[in-house]
């Protein structure tokens, strides 16, 4: 019998492990450094703020999308929930005059949408793609119904601070996104809930037989995702000072692309917060640079798709 050379005692350090966790971030740092040198006006305070603002919405929702994909599911209804959160908040604020009530209503509505998604997928066993495809349509419809078909302007000044106020010269949405990254990172790495998510995505049967509450975990993930998306939508509405029922079209795919770029496996069971952050930042940076260079928006689409494809290909080659 061969002698196992297993390390006991404190967890040992391994380069391969470190690269799996932080490799994508290193790629981003290199990309960032390269661009700072080559692209004029890139490394300016104003541009950095603009870049961060542009990825803040995607960044917040990517945190929960990470959990959703890691548990082996899919969710394309987030784009409608983002719009709905903003619209509902705007409508409630306009009618009741209370900003707190509006924000609360928006987030609660998002959580309810997520709850519905989770229950249908986890308890009724319906395919996640189809379920969220349906809710995406339904919630989008609700957006138009609630808003009466057009944008809902919010006249309350206190509402604007959420999206436009700053702390230490950095706008609130950026702080909120950073907080999300930290909070969800801790949840994924340091809680049983986070580890269970990965186990469920890796092998649902095994997780079930190991006593993990699979259905309950999935419902919580979707509910959190709904709440997070709605909250991001409220922040977005605050930035635009109005709730727009047709905002964020195609947003779901942006979020999923960022996650996949960051190493989250669509089959489930694999995913890290640092990878997701990297994915979000890389996508945002590329877009930012293209805008700086005045590249036609149409080419930006091509570029985004191309990066995603290249990343996934690279990942496959790494596995050979």
């Amino acid at each position: 019998m061969a002698e196992e050379r297993v390390r006991t005692g404190a967890p040992a350090f391994s380069w391969r492990d470190w690269w799996d966790k932080a490799g994508m971030l290193v790629v981003f740092v290199l990309l960032f450094a390269g661009l700072s040198l080559k692209v004029p006006n890139f490394l300016t305070w104003q541009n950095m703020i603009g870049l961060s603002l542009s990825v803040s919405t995607v960044g917040m929702v990517a945190c929960t999308m990470l959990f959703c994909l890691a548990s082996g599911d899919f969710d394309i209804s987030v784009e409608s929930t983002v719009a709905f959160g903003g619209v509902l908040a705007a409508v409630v604020i306009t009618s009741t005059g209370s900003v707190l009530l509006g924000v609360g209503a928006g987030v609660a509505a998002g959580a309810l949408v997520g709850l519905a998604n989770g229950t249908i997928i986890a308890k009724l066993g319906i395919n996640a793609l189809i379920t969220t495809l349906a809710t995406m349509q339904i919630v989008r419809g609700l957006c138009f119904i609630v808003s009466g078909g057009s944008a809902v302007s919010v006249a309350r000044e206190s509402f604007y601070t959420l999206g436009n106020g700053t702390m230490l010269d950095v706008p609130y949405p950026i702080w909120l996104t950073l907080t999300s990254f930290v909070v969800y990172g801790v949840i994924l790495n340091r809680t049983t809930f986070g580890r269970n998510t990965l186990a469920i995505g890796g092998n649902k049967e095994a997780a079930l037989l190991a006593g993990i509450p699979v259905a309950r975990t999935k419902i919580v993930i979707f509910a959190l995702q709904g709440a997070m998306a709605a909250f991001a939508g409220v922040v977005l509405a605050s930035q635009m000072t109005s709730g727009q029922p047709n905002s964020s079209q195609g947003f779901s795919l942006d979020v999923i692309s960022a996650c996949v770029l960051g190493g989250v496996s669509l089959a489930g069971g694999v995913g890290t917060i640092s990878g997701t952050i990297a994915g979000v930042l890389i996508m945002g940076t590329v877009q930012n640079v293209m805008s700086l260079q005045n590249v036609d928006t149409f080419y930006q689409y091509v570029a985004r798709g191309g990066i995603l494809l290249a990343a996934v290909l690279f990942d496959q080659l790494k596995k050979r």
Binding site: V6, R7, T8, A12, S14, D17, T192, A206, G211, I212
Partner: protein
């Protein structure tokens, strides 16, 4: 001057030798592995393995889990490329860049997981990759005709139009053999072919293999089952830890002990090493339990310290019974009592809290989480015990827990961070077992715990079972391996067609008695 004069015949002789065409060494081995080496991250799967397989012989390849048998077969069929060494066919070195090259060279490997497309027909599967066509249109008639001829040669009455998914495993295997013969394979390799076959099907398979041997094929036979090897094979090669240990060119006079000794590097005389132990009060009691898979209410008792063997044929309902007891399937009626107290178990979580654990039958589908590490797999359920407030992970506790069990169960892994899917089957099974040993076990339900595991590891698992029982747990072991059940269990329950057929104590249990209870009443006993 004189010396040179004497030496000139030598010069002539050497010159003539140089000029004459070189006479090639005739290798009587049709297939030869020459110094094959293969490395995977952190693991030396194969280390300069060399041996030869004769034409017209059945050559067994045996070894413990992790010895390198599967890797060798994968190199043979071109899925992996060796890091060093080569394969020689009829003396000529082969370089396979893809499975297609091996395919064309006449090598056919029949894997445990058969390479068939269930949704396509028998004929289509046989011609996969080289379907006959006329002017670009698929020639179905030619396909079906040829398929029928080939199947008839193997004495199989399957219509070429049947969907493969509808065929039982034994027939699918025959189909794979037909596929290989269709393209005149000269080398056939079988990987654990009999694990899902009935006795009659095994006999049929063996007669076909013997016929192939007479036709001059070089046949490789990878298996754990000693009886089969002695029954069927002419030569045996033993691998251990990726190295070639010994090749016996004849099975005459070869004993099981010798092979086992070469496989593990030491002598194992009695793998069961049973010794009776004290039993206590009831650990688990099932009373009139009914549910999916059971045709009649089942009642079962296991005492603390007792090992209950549950024997039966495929389809007897043993796995279903365990799943009902564990809460993985919905019970329709009946009560479950743990340590005398009735418990309500509707989810595996309830069972675990009551101290009842289940080690499932199919470790790939229900056991390990392939993309997560060994560390995570072992702590999958028990992490809540070491965590803070049941929520926050205690990494040090998890690490210590996993290391202790890896050491105790002798799991072969380069590190705890190794992904579970990179371990060999037997080690994966040990990881699943370790998951449950991390908990406080009152009752453990083991479903085929030693399936696909080598002799050395089997013995270790039995030791663990005895230790568990000795510490007061009730152990239920479902097994299709009759010698194992007879060797390990204190009491045996035999199931037949979804109900309990009978109970036997260790003293009264014999092979005949068990089989008699297990066989369905209406069948004709062969």
């Amino acid at each position: 001057m004189g010396t040179a004069f004497v030496l000139w015949p030598r010069f002539v002789y050497n010159t003539v030798l140089l000029v004459l065409p070189r006479h090639r060494e005739m290798d009587d081995m049709h297939l030869r592995f020459a110094h094959i080496s293969k490395m995977f991250p952190g693991v030396h799967a194969l280390d300069a393995v060399s041996f030869g397989v004769e034409q017209g012989s059945v050559h067994a390849v045996v070894g413990e889990n992790g010895a390198g048998k599967s890797t060798l077969l994968k190199i043979l069929c071109g899925v992996y490329r060796p890091d060093a060494g080569s394969i020689e066919l009829a003396g000529i070195e082969q370089r396979f860049h893809a499975p297609l090259d091996a395919f064309k060279a006449g090598i056919a490997v029949i894997h445990q997981e058969l390479n068939l497309v269930p949704e396509m027909s028998v004929a289509e599967n046989m011609f996969l990759g080289h379907m006959p066509s006329r002017l670009g249109w698929l020639d179905r008639r030619a396909m079906q005709g040829a398929a029928r001829v080939q199947l008839a040669a193997l004495e199989e009455e399957i219509s070429p139009q049947t969907k493969v998914g509808a065929l039982p495993i034994a027939q699918r295997q025959m189909l794979e053999i037909a596929k290989a013969l269709m393209r005149n394979a000269s080398v056939l390799a079988f990987d654990e072919p009999t694990s899902s076959l009935s006795a009659r099907e095994v006999a049929k398979l063996f007669s076909i293999i013997r016929r192939l041997r007479e036709q001059g094929k070089a046949i490789l036979y990878v298996s754990h089952r000693m009886e089969e090897i002695f029954d069927l094979c002419d030569a045996v090669t033993v691998l251990r830890d990726g190295r070639h240990v010994e090749t016996f060119s004849s099975t005459q006079g070869l004993t099981r002990e010798t092979i086992v000794n070469r496989m593990v590097g030491r002598d194992i005389t009695d793998i069961f090493h049973y010794s009776p132990r004290q039993t206590g009060g009831p650990a688990l009691e099932l009373e009139q339990v009914t549910g999916p898979g059971l045709s009649a209410p089942v009642s079962l008792r296991v005492a603390q310290g007792e090992i209950l063997g549950v024997f039966g044929l495929v389809g007897a309902g043993r796995t279903e019974l365990l799943k009902l007891a564990y809460g993985a399937a919905r019970k329709r009626s009946g009560t479950v009592r743990v340590a005398g107290r009735p418990v309500s178990i509707t989810r595996p979580g309830h069972a675990i809290r009551a101290g009842v654990m289940l080690c499932p039958e199919d470790r790939k589908k229900e056991g390990i989480v392939p993309v997560r590490s060994v560390l995570e797999n072992i702590n999958l359920s028990a992490r809540r015990l070491g965590s803070f407030l049941g929520c926050v992970i205690n990494e040090r506790w998890e690490w210590r827990n996993a290391s202790a069990h890896v050491r105790q169960l002798r799991v072969k892994t380069p590190s705890l961070r190794q992904l579970a899917m990179n371990l060999s089957g037997g080690n994966q099974q040990k990881v699943v077992l370790a998951r449950w040993l991390s908990e406080e076990v009152k009752v453990i339900l083991l479903d085929e715990p030693t399936r696909g595991i080598d002799v050395g590891a089997k013995s270790e698992i039995y030791s663990i079972m005895y230790d568990l029982a000795a510490s007061g747990a009730g152990v239920v072991m479902v097994s299709s391996d009759l010698p194992e059940v007879l060797g390990v269990a204190d009491r045996i329950v035999v199931m037949r067609q979804g109900a309990v057929a009978g109970e036997l104590s260790r003293a009264e249990a014999t092979q005949e008695a068990c089989l008699h209870l297990a066989l369905p009443r209406q069948s004709m006993v062969n």
